[in-house]
Each structure stands twice: as C-alpha cells, then as structure tokens.
C-alpha cells in the first residue's frame, strides 16, 4: 500500500467536517450508480467500491478507491487513489495513482466525492485498451517512499480517455 498513511495529515477543519457530513448524507440518500461506500467511522478517509460499467472493458470487475480529505477540503482537492490491484488503464499507474486533471489542477470546491467518482468511472469506461501508462515504471519508482499523487507535477495531454 503506497501512500496509504500520508505523513503529516492534519485533522479536518470544522468547515471540512460539516461539508463531508453533508456529502455523506447525500451519498446515503442518493449514491452514484456503480459505487458503494464502505462504512467506517473515519470521515477523513473513505473507501469506495467501484464496479466496472457493463459493456466496457471493466465490466464485472470491482476495484477500490481510497479518498483522503485534506484539512481544508473542499478548498483543496481530496487525494484519490486506487487500492491494489489498480485497474489496467492508460492513465492509472500500478501504484494506484490516477492521472486525472480534476484531482489536481482542475479541482473546484463545487465538486463532490460523488462527482469525482463519476468522472473516474467515465474515464475507465472510455478506455479502449487495458494497459499501463507508458512511463509507469519510472513514475512508480519515483513515488516509492510513499509520495502522494498530489505532489506529482502532472501533465494532462490526453482528453480522449
């Protein structure tokens, strides 16, 4: 498990706590299709089960997303990674890091866990090949001592998948 316990994780601010509680309630009332929140008493780390959408390369496969919230959520993006085994996808590294702009530069505080989940499922669904990113080995080696994907300087070049 890489970067599963971020070293300097601060407790959620009051605003972050309130917002996450609201998101949790909304998720329970109206969960996004294809996702299941695994109930824990930890508001700051959500583990979510993703089912590959029917009719896509990932149909009938189940993966786990780990969402960690920073102290100043939603001003700062949550850290979202796949727990191993991560799906084979041109934008998903073998250590579970996901190359998706809304998780980094294009994050907006109006986004929610639910909307992020839908974006990730959409990214999976539009894939045409099951393969790792070209630079997978180099990247994973660089991240070895538990670096968060939020510290990566991502380069978003592919808007098709």
């Amino acid at each position: 498990m890489t970067s599963s316990s971020a070293p300097s994780r601060k407790a959620l601010s009051k605003i972050a706590c309130n917002r996450l509680q609201k998101e949790m309630v909304e998720w329970q009332v109206n969960p996004p299709a294809g996702f299941k929140h695994k109930v824990t008493d930890n508001l700051q780390r959500w583990v979510i089960e993703v089912s590959g959408a029917p009719g896509t390369l990932y149909a009938n496969e189940i993966y786990q997303l780990q969402v960690d919230f920073p102290e100043h959520y939603p001003m700062e993006a949550p850290q979202v990674i796949f727990l191993p085994p991560a799906p084979l996808h041109p934008h998903i590294y073998s250590n579970g890091h996901i190359c998706l702009d809304i998780l980094y530069d294009s994050w907006s505080p109006a986004m929610t866990v639910s909307s992020v989940c839908i974006s990730i499922l959409s990214m999976l669904s539009s894939s045409t090949v099951k393969q790792r990113p070209a630079d997978n080995d180099r990247y994973v080696k660089n991240c070895r001592n538990g670096r968060s994907p939020k510290e990566t300087r991502w380069w978003f070049h592919d808007d098709k998948v």
Binding site: P109, A110, I118
Partner: protein, 226 residues
C-alpha cells in the same frame, strides 16, 4: 461539478416550501456551492451561482489559480458580484464564519441605481415653472422658447417629445445638459405620463433640478434689473 449542475437542473417542480419536512433539500436552492451550508453573506456571480462571500473570497484569493466560477468556470469579476440582502439579520457576526489566518474583506456592496422619479413632485414643479415663466418678459432666446412653449401648452410638447425620443444617446443628452432638451422632455413627460424608460426619466429629473435652479437665478436677476 456534474453533481452541482445536476442539482440545479433536476429540481422537481416547485412545491410550497413549507409543506415538506425535508429541510435539507428545500434549502438546497440557497446553499453555498462551496460549503453546502445555507449561504452566509450570500453573493451571486453573474453566471447565477450562489456562494458565501467568505467561501468564494477564500477560493479565489488563496486556492484557485484562476478567476473562475467553481461551478461553471465562467470568469468571475469581483466588482460584478451581486450581494443578496434578505430580510432577517442585517449584520452577520464576522466571526461566525472564520477561516483561520485569512482576513476576509467586506462583502462587495450592491450597485444601486437611482430612485425612480416621483410623478407627483414633477407635476407640482411644472406648475411652478409656468407661473414663473410668465414673469420673464425679456430673457434669452432659450427662455423665450420656454415661455412660448408654456404659452402654447399642450400643442408644442408633443412635437418636442418626438424630438427627444429621436435623440440617440441618453448619456450624451444628460451631459450636454441640453437646456432645451431637458425642458422638452419635461413637458413631453408631463403631457404623456412619463412614457420614457425610467433611466431617461431619471436623467430628465436631474436636468430638471438644474433647470429649476437656473431659472430661479434668472428670475431673481430679472426682478433686480427691472
């Protein structure tokens, strides 16, 4: 983001807001798009998205790389934000939403257009004019026009009124402070019950105030010279 958009478009047909027990969803229309609470110091962007002022300020100044609406990415200009002033509490406690270490300035204030003209007051002024005009037998050409017009009463104003409407730019008309234009619109307005849009009406109102002042001075001068 999709969640936010979906929320605003898929709202069920309006029901009476008081009839449902589900308070959380009913208040949804007035929840800040950042903290998801009932907006505090509410402010609306030109694209129509509602935020708490402290939330939006903090996002734009301390976290965002661009001046974009968090919901729809439209450009956000601070001087074009619209505050919402409801009834209820007039002044919120600035400490109630505290972002540690960040000094949040006052919420931008509303841009208030001038008050609408009062038709009654103008009517009254008009009679006053007519009366005073009668006392100025030998004045400048403009004053001459004035007395002429008042003498002809309802006949000439309609002609002048056409002239006024043909004038293309309300601001030009305002700043050149066309003595005669203001005057015509005055009569036209009186005769036709303020047909112009209110912005022009306000301009006319201002010109009229100046006009009244100038005429008053003329009358006093005339009396003195006489």
């Amino acid at each position: 983001m999709e969640g936010g958009l979906g929320e605003s478009t898929s709202v069920p047909p309006p029901q009476s807001p008081s009839c449902s027990g589900n308070g959380a969803n009913d208040a949804g229309d007035f929840e800040c798009n950042i903290c998801f609470e009932l907006a505090q110091d509410p402010i609306v962007t030109l694209c129509g998205h509602l935020f708490c002022w402290p939330c939006l300020y903090r996002w734009l100044h301390h976290h965002s790389h661009s001046q974009e609406c968090p919901v729809c990415k439209a450009l956000v200009e601070e001087e074009k934000l619209v505050p919402l002033y409801g009834r209820g509490k007039t002044q919120s406690d600035p400490r109630s939403k505290s972002y540690p270490g960040i000094d949040i300035p006052h919420r931008p204030s509303g841009q208030r257009p001038e008050t609408a003209p009062l038709p009654d007051a103008n009517q009254f002024a008009n009679y006053g004019f007519g009366f005073m005009g009668g006392f100025v037998p030998m004045a400048t050409a403009r004053i001459g026009n004035f007395t002429l017009a008042t003498a002809f009463g309802g006949l000439i104003p309609s002609l002048f009124n056409i002239q006024f409407h043909g004038f293309p730019d309300a601001t030009v008309y305002g700043t050149t402070s066309g003595f005669p234009y203001g005057f015509h619109s005055f009569h036209g307005g009186h005769a036709h019950g303020f047909p112009q849009p209110s912005s022009r009406g306000q301009q006319a109102d201002n010109v009229l105030k100046n006009l009244l002042l100038v005429i008053g001075v003329f009358v006093i001068l005339a009396l003195l010279c006489w």
